[in-house]
């Protein structure tokens, strides 16, 4: 066999792909989604808490947030997953049994939170101080002003960066295979790798790669669409609203429209 067709067979063996496909879709895909979605939710909530702590006036909140972020951003994801997944396994065993998923999700969330916290913090800090002043002047407490006015605006400004982090999370979810998964718990990467290992052919792994792309590429486009929508508001609905400049005698005849 000539080298080129060997190479072709190694990556594009359709039979091998067809064989792996059902398990990829019925076992791998749901598991990857469970890992990534749960870690995205938990990581985003933790990230928001970190972001708020990071801009707090109290150093007792700012400092721990800083240290946390430095540590979890600075460690390799694989090391963190192993440290938490294996290190806390005895504890986990008592709480929910031998299932490695909760600790895997926890580790992924803790890592994602460090990055998402920084993303949210930069967004929140980019909101003009006048917005906080406007909300406080209405009588909102600092916490309500943050919750209702500042944070929603800040997060909207960093949605694309946040989605980048979710994409990283989808990919990093493959690392939980370190923790030892039973057959029904295997996610996309692990299934591809198992097929590749037993057949000596990488096609199933390539198929796993395509599955990742099918998740990540649309995600970027969806968020870009949402981002545009938030920037420009809803598509303009034809306004039938009538003139509104009947202000006062003082306003005299001067209209006030753009």
């Amino acid at each position: 066999m000539d080298p080129l067709s060997t190479l072709w067979e190694t990556f594009f063996d359709w039979d091998a792909m067809r064989e792996a496909l059902p398990e990829m879709l019925t076992v791998g895909l749901p598991n990857t989604l469970i890992l990534a979605v749960s870690a995205a939710l938990l990581g985003s909530v933790l990230g928001l808490l970190l972001a708020v702590a990071g801009i707090s006036r109290s150093r007792w909140l700012r400092w721990p947030a800083r240290v946390y972020t430095d540590v979890f951003r600075g460690l390799p994801a694989a090391a963190t997953i192993l440290l938490i997944g294996v290190g806390l396994a005895p504890l986990g065993m008592q709480v929910w049994g031998p299932d490695p998923y909760p600790l895997g999700i926890l580790a992924l969330s803790l890592i994602a939170a460090a990055y998402i916290g920084e993303i949210f913090r930069s967004g929140i800090q980019s909101v003009e101080a006048a917005q906080l002043e406007g909300a406080r002047a209405l009588g909102f407490s600092w916490a309500d002003a943050m919750r209702l006015v500042i944070i929603p605006q800040g997060i909207r400004r960093v949605l694309p960066a946040w989605v980048n982090q979710l994409i990283a999370l989808i990919k990093d979810s493959s690392l939980v295979y370190f923790l030892g998964l039973v057959a029904s718990q295997r996610e996309l990467f692990r299934i591809g790798q198992d097929y590749a290992a037993t057949t000596g052919n990488e096609s199933a792994l390539l198929l796993a790669g395509l599955c990742y792309l099918a998740l990540t590429v649309p995600l970027t486009h969806v968020v870009n669409w949402i981002d545009r929508r938030l920037r420009n508001g809803r598509p303009a609905t034809a306004s039938t609203e009538e003139d509104d400049d009947d202000v006062t005698s003082y306003a005299a005849t001067e209209g006030d429209r753009r």
Binding site: A130, E133, G134, R136, S141, E241, D245, D246, A251
Partner: protein, 247 residues
């Protein structure tokens, strides 16, 4: 615009001092605004006018002195509760860009006044009607002109039925042709009996609408009195120089 308030109160600022580090921004300011009266504060930039407004609703806490509403000091009150009694309008409007015009007005009604959705909406719509913007309830602030945005900001403050209104250079950021509409709303509010403190560079407005004009320079009120006295018979040389430059 019909009367929007029957509950306005008198405002007294007494000997208010404030320093940012070595920079003494307010050096003993006194200002007395009887119930239902309008005081215009004029003066050069950096004279402490905007800072004075912020000490009245305690966005900035004064170092010394007192602020009284209806004869009672507010410095011991909960600042958030105080700010619901004192409406404020800013140079840059400070509307919330991620919310519709309607929601900008209903937010505090619902969250702070605890009104139900329907009630808050009808209060807000009535208030928007009064500033001539009933048709813009579902727009985003960015879709409005500056003058319209400022009128929304006024409606937002008035919806809470404040007892005193503060205006911080409310028309300074507007294109000239948009100024009158906003000043008109303010003039009507004044005529309706709202107690108001208006920091402004609009001398025509001060002359026409104010009961009292106070001239501030370097952190103190140098001269105060009825508009005719200030504009026709100014005593302090600094005030005369200022008026020569702006009139």
């Amino acid at each position: 615009m019909t009367a929007t308030t029957t509950t306005s109160v008198s405002l007294d600022v007494r000997d208010v001092h404030l320093a940012f580090g070595p920079n003494r921004v307010l050096r003993g300011v006194d200002l007395s605004v009887p119930r239902g009266a309008t005081a215009c504060v004029i003066g050069p930039s950096g004279s402490g006018k905007s800072t004075l407004l912020r000490t009245i609703n305690r966005l900035i806490e004064p170092d010394r002195g007192d602020v009284l509403l209806d004869g009672r000091s507010v410095l011991g009150d909960d600042p958030d509760a105080l700010r619901q009694r004192v409406g404020m309008v800013f140079q840059q409007f400070n509307l919330f860009p991620h919310m519709s015009v309607l929601r900008n007005v209903t937010l505090a009604l619902r969250r702070l006044r605890k009104l139900g959705a329907d009630e808050a909406e009808s209060v807000a719509r009535a208030q928007l009607e009064l500033v001539g913007l009933a048709g813009k309830a579902n727009s985003r602030p960015a879709q409005l002109s500056g003058g319209q945005q400022q009128r929304v900001a006024i409606a937002r403050a008035l919806a809470l039925r404040p007892e005193v209104m503060l205006f911080d250079e409310a028309t300074s950021a507007l294109d000239p042709e948009l100024v009158k509409g906003v000043l008109g709303v303010m003039a009507d509010l004044s005529a309706a009996g709202m107690t108001m403190v208006v920091v402004t560079h609009e001398m025509g407005f001060a002359r026409q609408v104010a009961d009292t004009v106070a001239f501030m320079d370097r952190g103190v009120v140098l001269e105060a009195g009825p508009p005719e006295a200030i504009f026709e018979r100014a005593e302090h040389p600094r005030l005369r120089r200022f008026l020569d430059q702006v009139l």
